[in-house]
Subunit: 149 residues, 2 copies
């Protein structure tokens, strides 16, 4: 039977309420790529919603709702990739020394993303704008504290 590479087995149980699955990585690079992939996809879909909220593209309630739903799902993904065995990428070391603060912001992002999706489903542009602003502020707050260059 073919064996998985297990030079370094990183296994963490889902530490966050709402995280969809426990994370297991065969090597640190996979954990870094995992969280970066999740962040990128969340950002791509968030930017499509934000572009409508900011008036840069015409508001289309259906498209906004579809994209916001992806944001809500993707908001649960990246956090399990921040395992202490895998520093690097743009992750600042204080992620692992200020875990309570980091996790609080992770949870806030998931909460904001769920609210964004709910707001988008109403089809009300003002509600969407408010939800985009709130989520954007949470992104910025976490990036300012925990994301390096």
């Amino acid at each position: 039977m073919k064996k998985l590479p297990v030079l370094l087995a990183i296994s963490v149980t889902a530490a966050l309420c709402g995280a969809p699955a426990s994370a297991q990585f065969s090597r640190p690079e996979s954990a870094i790529k995992y969280r970066q992939s999740g962040m990128f996809l969340m950002g791509q879909h968030f930017s499509r919603v934000a572009a409508m909220a900011n008036g840069r593209v015409p508001f289309d309630a259906k498209v906004a709702a579809e994209n916001a739903e992806v944001v809500a799902f993707m908001s649960k993904i990246p956090w399990n990739g921040y395992v202490k065995e895998a520093p690097g990428g743009r992750a600042k070391p204080n992620i692992w020394t200020e875990q309570a603060k980091f996790k609080e912001l992770n949870e806030k992002m998931m909460d904001d993303a769920a609210k964004l999706s709910a707001a988008a489903k109403t089809g009300n542009l003002d509600a969407l704008k408010a939800a985009v602003r709130a989520a954007d502020a949470t992104c910025t707050s976490c990036h300012d504290t925990f994301r390096g260059s």
Copy 2:
């Protein structure tokens, strides 16, 4: 008002049944990164389910169901990233000359992933094994045809 970079605006409507959102990319590199991120996340979670189905790690029905649910969601993501304006990465050129075949396999993957999630939710290991085999065969079939080195 800050403007998005729109040197190259790529906008496609969701061409696939089940695709969660239309895709819009400011540049080809973003489309490539988008599909690669989606594929990587789908693969990570699929490998966790497959490891249980193949007996490499102990079967845990809850963990299998959580991971399979992520696979089902992620299976809808990558395809919108294969816009003709963004060749490259591991995408072979025949993706754009054999669109019907490519899309058929995209849809089969989404269908297989949905069945995988449904099978995982039953908690029946034999059902999970069969669903893993089917999805794995679809992955391989598409990669053999449309993925380069």
